[in-house]
């Protein structure tokens, strides 16, 4: 199976260790991964702010990069970026049939990381170990557009030493929402605080998600409010501990 990596721009620039973990986990499971050069971003920031033309420009570049070869799958460690490509590229190219068709064809092959592990590779246990009490945050796009709810939890339940806890109001958005976080900062932060209150109540000391953007927002607020919660992407947790 030939798999291409789609690394979101903020993972590339701010949290590259997440990308590294993805590579290592996939290789451990026998998957040959390539990293197509020239990839930059999915274009979501422009799209979410209503700049559809600009988003289309970035999307065209994305299509060019990822159509270069016939990969079986394009794996992405971000629910929201995966959704942008698989769901919203056809949306922004609605009036442009050629590009829409290209987007739809490519879109079917773009899969979020945990979805890929569980539903394509059929793997729920990767031999990881990581001790602590954790809660898992499902990003909104992953929940609603992708419907990938249980897969990350199944993977985490098989991590030795990790206790996965439930937390209140689990479905509530973390408040990031892209430019929303800086356009409406007071509401955005109030939303984060609501999640953090639930986190505190659960007694967890680790926050895990498949979306680095949510982690950046919640993690940033946790830090500012004096919490020492560990912030980890799912890939990093699955990459922990000795093999076997």
């Amino acid at each position: 199976m030939r798999v291409a990596l789609f690394i979101p721009c903020y993972v590339d620039l701010i949290n590259p260790e997440v990308g590294v973990s993805v590579v290592r986990v996939l290789r451990k499971l026998g998957v040959e991964v390539t990293y197509p050069r020239g990839q930059t971003c999915c274009g979501q920031p422009a799209f979410n702010s209503g700049y559809f033309d600009e988003a289309r420009g970035v999307a065209r570049h994305f299509l060019d990069v990822f159509e270069k070869e016939e990969w079986d799958y394009i794996v992405c460690p971000s629910g929201s970026c995966t959704t942008m490509v698989s769901h919203y590229y056809p949306f922004i190219f609605e009036e442009l049939p050629d590009e829409r068709e290209r987007a739809e064809t490519l879109g079917h092959r773009v899969r979020e990381f945990s979805d890929f592990l569980v539903n394509v590779l059929g793997v729920k246990e990767v031999g990881a170990s990581h001790s602590g009490h954790a809660v898992f945050h499902t990003g909104c796009h992953q929940r609603r557009e992708l419907g990938v709810l249980n897969e990350p939890r199944e993977l985490l339940r098989n991590v030795a030493g990790l206790e996965l806890r439930e937390w209140e109001n689990e479905e509530l958005c973390c408040g990031f929402g892209g430019t929303f976080s800086v356009k409406m900062p007071d509401v955005s932060v109030a939303m984060a605080d609501e999640k953090i209150a639930a986190l505190e109540k659960s007694g967890a000391d680790i926050l895990i998600s498949c979306d680095s953007s949510c982690l950046m927002h919640l993690g940033g607020r946790l830090k500012k409010t004096g919490h020492d919660t560990r912030i980890l992407h799912l890939a990093q947790v699955l990459d922990s501990g000795k093999a076997g």
């Binding site: 290592r24 990839q39 509401v187 609501e194």
Partner: protein
């Protein structure tokens, strides 16, 4: 008999956020104050948790919930595509039953019709049951102003609406109008009306309201309701309440006036079964409300109550603009309030922050559509686009996607700031050119050096919106691309 305070024109100059002039702009400023209100937040959490528990139990107890939702969507779609025929059919059906029909293009038409009717009947007391459509056109206030010589007493009869009216306030939630008022405040308001200290006890307050309003119900000359649904086939209108006030408003006075938005129409009587099942379960979490009432024209032969005269006002007020456009789905709304209950933004800010009759996700969508983008600039952006609203909508309105389209509409209309336009053009150019992207990252890493401390970016002018509240992680030493090149 004390006259209740005149209905106050919607005052979006929130007392807690002085200096906001325009009607709906300033969501941000109002929200900023609202999120600090712990009491408000507790009320909203209590209300939404309770309602959602009920909703999740009863909605999913329907064995065919997804099919019902699909059916509701298709029915509404078909109705809108042929709205003129259905309106004609309903008007004919009402007239056949001896009712009167009036087509109102806007709020002014409605006010004039009702005012003239009141004058003609020599009406003094008008009782009203909850109607968002009449809120939208500020009916009470305008009647009192334009027909001041009639000295009309217009009484809201829904408990929450009545209390809001007495307090000179406006409702903040479609289903629970005084979500933002606590018991202490309610006691204060009602004591003022009673002319004595009432005990802060919900049962006692309720009893006082019942007695005071009963007097109005009995002596009303005209009863005004909205309509949750209007049936084209039979001319039936449906009102849905728990208190029984709509039924009293329509049974006792000799004249019944219905103000109905044209989008509330459904084709056949049997379609009521689909929508009645969806409305209660989504909106309040009940299987059905206490009074789900169907009225077809004036009283029947030999009946001794019910209205003698029935007037149906079919109101447009901007709705027809949406027909045949990509925003048409916003008209499918049955006003259940479910989207407000799941919205994480509404949860923090409450309804008044939206500065419009309609709040929450549906408010953010239809206010700019009915009033124009300039009037409601902020609202499409008052959302993190989490999609909970679209997920919960019992009729399947793609609310969060419509918000995205509204944002795009503003950009296309040139409403963005120059700075933002340039920023995103720059963004596009950078992301289309890998070399530019890489170069930008290199520059960023150098530029951030002086302001990174303890693994976070400290205060930098321009990043305050983030860094005032949250730690900001710096660009990593080596990007993923660089690490890949070196070998992972």
């Amino acid at each position: 008999m004390t006259t209740s305070k005149p209905a106050r024109r919607r005052d979006t100059t929130d007392k807690r956020a002085e200096g906001i002039e325009s009607k709906v702009e300033g969501f941000n400023a109002r929200a900023k104050e609202a999120v600090k209100d712990q009491e408000l937040h507790d009320s909203i959490s209590l209300f939404t948790n309770k309602t959602l528990t009920g909703r999740n139990a009863n909605f999913w107890a329907l064995p065919n919930a997804p099919e019902l939702r699909e059916k509701a969507y298709r029915t509404k779609q078909e109705t809108m595509a042929n709205l003129d025929s259905y309106l004609a059919q309903m008007a004919d059906a009402v007239e056949e039953r001896g009712g009167n029909v009036f087509f109102a293009s806007d709020g002014e038409d409605v006010v004039k019709y009702i005012g003239d009717l009141a004058r003609c009947k020599g009406a003094k007391i008008i009782t009203k049951s909850k109607s968002m459509a009449t809120e939208e056109i500020e009916l009470n206030h305008r009647l009192e102003e334009d027909y001041a010589d009639l000295d009309l007493e217009i009484v809201e009869t829904d408990l929450g609406e009545w209390i809001a009216q007495l307090a000179g306030d406006t409702p903040s939630h479609i289903v629970g109008p005084i979500l933002h008022m606590n018991k202490r405040r309610v006691t204060e308001v009602l004591s003022g009306v009673a002319g004595e200290e009432l005990p802060p006890d919900v049962a006692a307050l309720g009893q006082f309201a019942r007695e005071r309003l009963r007097e109005k119900f009995i002596n009303a000359d005209i009863g005004i309701t909205g309509a949750n649904f209007g049936v084209a086939e039979t001319g039936t209108i449906a009102t849905v309440t728990n208190e029984g006030n709509a039924r009293l408003v329509t049974s006792v006075p000799p004249v019944h006036v219905v103000v109905m938005g044209i989008e509330k129409i459904i084709p056949k009587f049997e379609d009521l079964s689909t929508f009645v099942q969806l409305l209660g379960r989504s909106g309040t979490g009940q299987k059905i409300t206490v009074y789900t009432n169907f009225i077809t024209g004036p009283r029947g032969e030999g009946e001794l109550d019910g209205a003698e005269e029935f007037h149906l006002i079919l109101m447009d007020n901007g709705r027809s603009k949406l027909l045949g456009t990509e925003y048409e789905e916003a008209l499918y709304c049955i006003r259940c309030g479910s989207c407000l209950n799941v919205c994480p933004v509404y949860r923090q800010t409450g309804g008044h922050a939206y500065g419009s009759t309609y709040s929450g996700p549906i408010g953010a969508v239809i206010t700019p559509l009915l009033k124009g983008d300039k009037e409601a600039k902020d609202l499409p952006y008052a959302s993190s686009l989490c999609g909970a609203c679209s997920e919960t909508c019992p009729v399947g309105i793609p609310l969060h996607d419509l918000l995205l389209k509204l944002r795009n509409r503003q950009v296309e209309e040139g409403m963005s700031t120059r700075a933002e336009s340039l920023m995103f053009k720059g963004f596009e150019r950078t992301m289309r050119t890998p070399a530019a992207y890489r170069a930008g990252a290199k520059v960023g890493k150098i530029a951030q050096k002086p302001v990174v401390k303890d693994g976070s970016i400290k205060r930098v002018p321009g990043t305050g919106a983030w860094t005032n509240f949250r730690g900001l992680a710096p660009l990593a030493e080596k990007s993923f691309r660089e690490m890949w090149k070196e070998g992972i």
